[in-house]
């Protein structure tokens, strides 16, 4: 059978989602951690809706969806983020 990719950043397959659910992970946060979906470059923007639907179709807990989004909204370079520190911030040494 050919592989069906559900999370393109982390190469997570439909098979792995099924396996996670079979292993007892029935809420989206747990499935995310078990398979790693949504932890790559897009941070779930492309896959979270699909994975939530797959979980719901397989009898998962859908009440608490979706997963906590992780900032930054888009990947940002470290030298740009360094500009966020205010000059008067005493903790910046």
């Amino acid at each position: 059978m050919s592989k069906i990719i559900v999370c393109r950043c982390e190469d997570v397959t439909l098979h792995e989602i099924d396996e996670a659910i079979e292993a007892g992970h029935k809420d989206l946060e747990s499935v995310k951690r078990f398979t790693g979906f949504g932890t790559g470059f897009c941070q779930g923007k492309q896959c979270v809706a699909l994975c939530a639907r797959l979980l719901a179709e397989r009898g998962g807990e859908v009440a608490t969806m979706p997963i906590t989004p992780r900032p930054p909204f888009h990947p940002v370079a470290i030298h740009a983020l360094a500009q966020l520190v205010r000059d008067d911030d005493e903790d910046a040494t």
Binding site: E16, E19, E22, A23, G24, H25, K26, D27, E29, S30, R33, F34, T39, G40, F41, Q43, E61, T68, R70, P71, P72, P75, V76, A77, I78, H79, A80, L81, A82, Q83, L84, V85, R86, D89, D91, A92, T93
Partner: protein, 401 residues
């Protein structure tokens, strides 16, 4: 990655909650699960112990699923050095024993000193570590450069280096303990919250949960930063406080960074995970009080500034995700363990600061031996909550973040 036969970490309560047990463990983080597994394992062959673990959320929802996975034996106190050394040995065997990949990588820990005073402290700690058989050495900036050529060492006086320290990926560690515990008969209930304690006089004899009451002669509080919210049900105020600690990771890079680099001056630390990401954080005193797991832009700024100064080449690398968890801070930097004098039947295993993950493999074992066979009296006396009443505080100066 998943070994089918063994892929059974239950995420939802499958069975009804038992009405009684021999031991109830509050909290399904690494402490609770390591303790549960060790209790079950060490009691095998005898009348099985009925062990119930109650977790209010999903596995990995607490600090155990949010940490940096750093495991090191470079500490300043004799007890921490001794215990961490044993813990790291357990980490090294974990994958084989539990049949789960925990991405353990022994790249060492490199602690940078930027003042003479700090250099002296590191030298004294390194000597103590060598007395305990660790290969720790204090090295010159030149040698630091050999280990991590990309570091800017212009402000570095010296560094403390132990090549045997390492990093792990925390999640499979938690699942590994969970399924090993369950396979030995431990009853694990996620998505079930402890709401109150059942008492008879001052004695604690069970828990009231969102799914019913479980009575047990021993109730263990392994609730990490939430522990004070449990003990306050019986009027016991803990000296420990939750302190939000933030962390982030970058896009994956080709493996290039061998050790975890730590700077005790500003609390900056970073390492490269087996997935290639640079994972790290920094000390931040000014965070909202209490149990707060939100992320802040200020953290990103502080971390990014310190990191790009320590290793300028990382300036172009992008941060992908940030998150936060709570440290469980005690005033003297040492944990709160053992039975609570004011509430017999209630046992603590909390206050593990920012190093509860690395110490859990050994503390789970010692706590189980203490409960089952009365071993490790000295340690559990020293780390007992009563030291705060008696004014016998301890110390540890190599706290990071």
């Amino acid at each position: 990655m998943i070994d089918r036969e063994h892929a059974r970490p239950p995420a939802l309560p499958s069975a009804p909650l038992p009405e009684s047990a021999d031991v109830v463990i509050i909290g399904g983080g690494i402490m609770g699960l390591a303790t549960a597994w060790n209790l079950a394992r060490l009691h095998e062959g005898k009348t099985p112990l009925r062990i119930v673990v109650i977790e209010k959320g999903y596995l990995c929802g607490g600090a155990s699923g949010r940490n940096g996975g750093g495991v090191r034996a470079q500490w300043a106190s004799e007890t921490n050095i001794r215990l961490m050394k044993r813990s790291i040995a357990l980490c090294a065997d974990f994958a084989t024993r539990m049949r789960i990949n925990v991405w353990f990588r022994r790249g060492g820990y490199l602690f940078l000193a930027r003042t003479d005073e700090r250099a002296k402290q590191l030298a004294a700690s390194a000597e103590l570590q060598r007395e305990h058989g660790l290969p720790t050495r204090v090295i010159e900036p030149g040698e630091v450069k050999e280990i991590v050529p990309e570091l800017d060492v212009s402000r570095v006086v010296c560094a403390s280096w132990n090549p045997d320290d390492g990093v792990v990926f925390p999640w499979p560690f938690v699942w590994g303990y969970a399924r090993a515990a369950v396979s030995l008969g431990v009853s694990l209930h996620t998505h079930t919250a402890v709401e109150d304690l059942v008492t008879e006089g001052s004695r604690v004899v069970g828990v009231v949960t969102s799914r019913g009451v479980v009575r047990a002669p021993r109730v263990l509080v392994c609730a990490g930063a939430w522990s004070p919210t449990i003990t306050e049900k019986v009027g016991v105020t803990l000296p420990s406080k939750p302190h939000r600690h933030e962390i982030c990771s970058t896009e994956p890079l080709k493996p290039f960074l061998r050790p975890l680099v730590g700077d005790l001056q500003n609390g900056l630390y970073f390492s490269q995970s087996m997935r290639g990401e640079i994972v790290g954080g920094i000390s931040n005193e000014r965070v909202p009080e209490g149990l707060d797991q939100r992320s802040s832009a200020r953290f990103l700024g502080l971390y990014a500034k310190a990191l790009s100064e320590a290793m300028p080449i990382l300036g172009h690398v992008k941060i992908l995700r940030q998150w936060a968890g709570c440290y469980d801070l005690t005033p003297d930097g040492n944990p709160l363990c053992g039975e609570v004098d004011e509430a017999p039947g209630l046992f603590l295993m909390s206050g593990f600061m920012g190093h509860g993950f690395m110490i859990a493999p050994i503390m789970g074992e010692l706590f189980a031996k203490h409960l089952l066979f009365g071993e490790e009296r000295e340690l559990f006396d020293r780390w007992n909550l009563r030291r705060y009443r008696e004014g016998k505080l301890l110390s540890e100066s190599m706290i990071l973040g």
